[in-house]
Amino acid sequence: MAGKMEPLMQSPMTPWPYRIQKVIRESHDTFSLNVVPKNSPDSMTFNPGQFNMLYAFGVGEVPISISGPQPGGKGMIHTIRDVGIVTGALHKLKKDQTIGLRGPFGSAWPIEESKGYDIVIMAGGIGLAPLRPALYALLDQRDKFGEIVLLYGVRKPEDLLFTKEFETWRGKYGVQVKMTVDTADREWRGNVGVVNTLVQRANFDPMNTVAMICGPEVMMRFAVSELKRREVPEDQIFITMERNMKCAVGFCGHCQFGPAFICKDGPIFRYDKVKQFFGIREI
């Protein structure tokens, strides 16, 4: 016997066809695909921090966070690092070719909730991609926020992404953009060291700051402890979690992290809500 149920819909496991309207080379191993739905001219809406499942024909599917466009822009941009079979296949695609897409999925950065606060954005490596739409949203209402700080760390200078935009962020919007690399040669005139060393160099009011962090889990652990050292409250720190993901809709069970499903409860979590499990080995 069955109770009352909602009417049937298309399976959330079936991708929709999207057309690649632009391929952008971001760095030696990273590229962006801007895609639009094939069957309708409308751009889909998404919240900063959400991700899509991208399907390369005959190869497979991967979760990729949405990295743009700016508010009012067309399509959805996905910034992808070519590290595996599927991302490699996506890298080979050209303008006007087709990909499968499911989404947008997942939680978003707390933009509205952070009005009136200073914002510290910390990104490690490709972690800047899901934070870029957050920056766009913050800068779209620049006067609603206090200091905006971007602390960005990568392995080597050639891994830096979106650097062309940094000048606009600095100059037009007064964002404190600070970058650092793990190692560099003489050509590099910037900072060398891990990203959390930048925290003490940034100007913000810790008690009145919302921090948004995305990067490798180990980097985030140290970033959180650095922010806590400066007395940013735990419930004002937001982190992103990553786990194996197959379905993105809470069916497959792969992405569980303690009681959370990364796909539908995350990927963005308020730190104090997951800290019980954060850093536990093999959780």
């Binding site: 392995r155 560099a184 005139r189 900072n191 891990v194 990067g215 490798p216 140290f222």
Partner: protein, 153 residues
């Protein structure tokens, strides 16, 4: 022009230090300026200076034979440079080169060591400020070692 003592008093490293100790330390201090590209010290040279960076940026470098110099860390405004003056045999472990115009206050290492030896409370004050910096640097170094952004991070 600001006095050396007030510059030191306002530097994050010496924040909150008792005025009497500040005066003692100022006795070992002098102003220095390094142009971009200028070496501040070289590996294995005798280490007798403790640099309090006011503004600018300094790269700590290693240069393996046959390779370009590798920068392992940079220090900048509000930070400090060098603690080899405190630990025997008082030799620098890296090359330090100014990346940009850098202004600093240099404290004479021998002078500091003597004063710390005479007044252990001053020594304790200095060490309890220096140790967190050393600890953070070690933590940062460990993270760099992990190469967390690598392909298989």
């Amino acid at each position: 022009m600001k006095s050396l003592e007030s510059i030191l008093a306002n530097h994050p490293f010496f924040k909150g230090l008792e005025p009497e100790y500040l005066a003692l330390i100022t006795g070992c201090a002098s102003n220095v300026k390094f142009e971009a590209g200028q070496f501040i010290y070289r590996q294995d040279e005798e280490a007798n200076s403790f640099y309090i960076i006011r503004e600018g940026k300094v790269a700590l470098e290693v240069c393996p034979p046959g390779k370009k110099p590798i920068t392992v860390q940079t220090v900048s405004d509000g930070e400090i440079l060098g603690w080899a003056w405190l630990i025997p045999p008082y030799h620098w472990q890296f090359d330090a080169q100014a990346v940009e115009l850098t202004r600093a206050i240099v404290l004479d290492g021998r002078c500091l060591r003597t004063k710390c030896g005479e007044d252990h409370t001053l020594g304790y004050e200095l060490l309890s400020r220096l140790l967190p910096v050393v600890g953070q640097t070690m933590e940062a170094t460990r993270l760099q070692l992990l190469d967390i952004y690598g392909n298989n991070d």
